[in-house]
C-alpha cells in the first residue's frame, strides 16, 4: 500500500547503515595510514582523533 509508513526500525536502519559503512571505511583507511606507526596507547589515541576528525569532515575531505 502506497501510503503505508515503514516500521520505525527500518527508518532508522538505513541512515545508520550508511554511517556505519562510512565509519568502517574511514577506520580502514586510517588503520592503513598508521600501519607503521606502532601499537602503543598514544598511537591508538591519535588514530581515534584522526578517525573522529575525518568522520566530522564533509565526504571527500580528509
Amino acid at each position: 500500500m502506497s501510503g503505508q509508513t515503514p516500521p520505525p526500525d527500518a527508518v532508522v536502519a538505513a541512515p545508520l547503515g550508511e554511517a556505519d559503512d562510512r565509519e568502517a571505511q574511514v577506520r580502514q583507511q586510517v588503520a592503513h595510514l598508521f600501519r607503521h606507526a606502532g601499537d602503543h596507547a598514544v598511537v591508538e589515541r591519535l588514530r581515534e582523533v584522526v578517525v573522529a576528525y575525518r568522520m566530522a569532515a564533509p565526504e571527500g575531505r580528509p
Partner: protein, 283 residues
Amino acid sequence: MTPLNPVSEAALTARIEQLPALPTIANELLASFDQDDIDVDTLARRISNDQSLAAHTLRIANSPFYGLSGKVGAIPDAIVILGFRTVRSLVLSAAMAQSLGRVGNGEFDSHRFWRHSTSVALFARGIARLCRENPEVAFTAGLIHDMGRVLLGTCFPEQYRQVIDWQRDRDCPTMEAERAVLGLDHCVAGGLLARRWCLPANLAGAIARHHLPDGDTCLRLADVCHWADVLAHALAPNPGPLGAVPPVSADAWERLGLDWAQVPPLLQDVQRDLEETCLAFAA
C-alpha cells in the same frame, strides 16, 4: 645487512661541499633568533642587498596568502607591514629553498615533498605555540626538516630511486628503506647539511632527530618536529603508498605535555591554512 647500493658519509660530505653555502644574511637571521636586541634596520638593508633573495621574499610577501598583492615593494615595507619575525621566516625559507633547489628526479615527487614540508611547518608552529616554544623557529625547522631527502634525491638520484622502489616493494618506513639501500638515512644527510650551513644547534638537532627524538639527551625542537611530521602524515589527503605515518614516539608526546583536546583544533587550523601557505611558498 649490507646496503644494496651504499653511499658513504665521506661521499655525501664531498657532495655537500659542492653545494652553495647559505647566504651570509641567512646565517645572521638564524643567529638573531637568540638575540633580544636586534638591529632590524641593518638586517633589512642586508636582506635588500641580496637581490635574488629579496626578490624571492617579496614574491612571497605579495602572494595571496598575505592579502597584500602588489603592496610590498621593498624589504623595509615588508617589515613594517608583516613584522620582522614573519619577514625573517620568509627570508630564511627563500634562502634555503634557493640553496636546495627543486628536486627534478622523476621518482621524487617534489610537489608532494614541499606540500608535506609546509604542512609540517604549520603543525610545528602550532605545537610550539601550545607548548610555549618559539613558533617561528619551529616553523623554519618544519619547513626544512626533510632537507636530507632533497639532498639524497638530488645528489644520488639513481640510488634514491632504488630507495623508493625498495619502500614500495616492501611497504616499509622511509628510514628503513634508506638504510637498507644507502646505508644511511635522510636524518644523517640532513644533519651533515645542517653542519655545512652552520645552522644553530637546535635546528640541526631537529633535522637530525625528527624521526628518532628519544635518547640520552632530548631536544624539544626535535620533539616538536617529530609530532608535527606525524600529524602532517595523518592529515595528508592522498598519502599514497609511501605516505604512511612513520613510527611514533610516545615519549616525545609525553615530553611535549600536550592535551588531546588540543589536537582537533590544531588539525583544523592547519587544514585551513595549508593551501594558501603552499601557494605563498611556491611563489
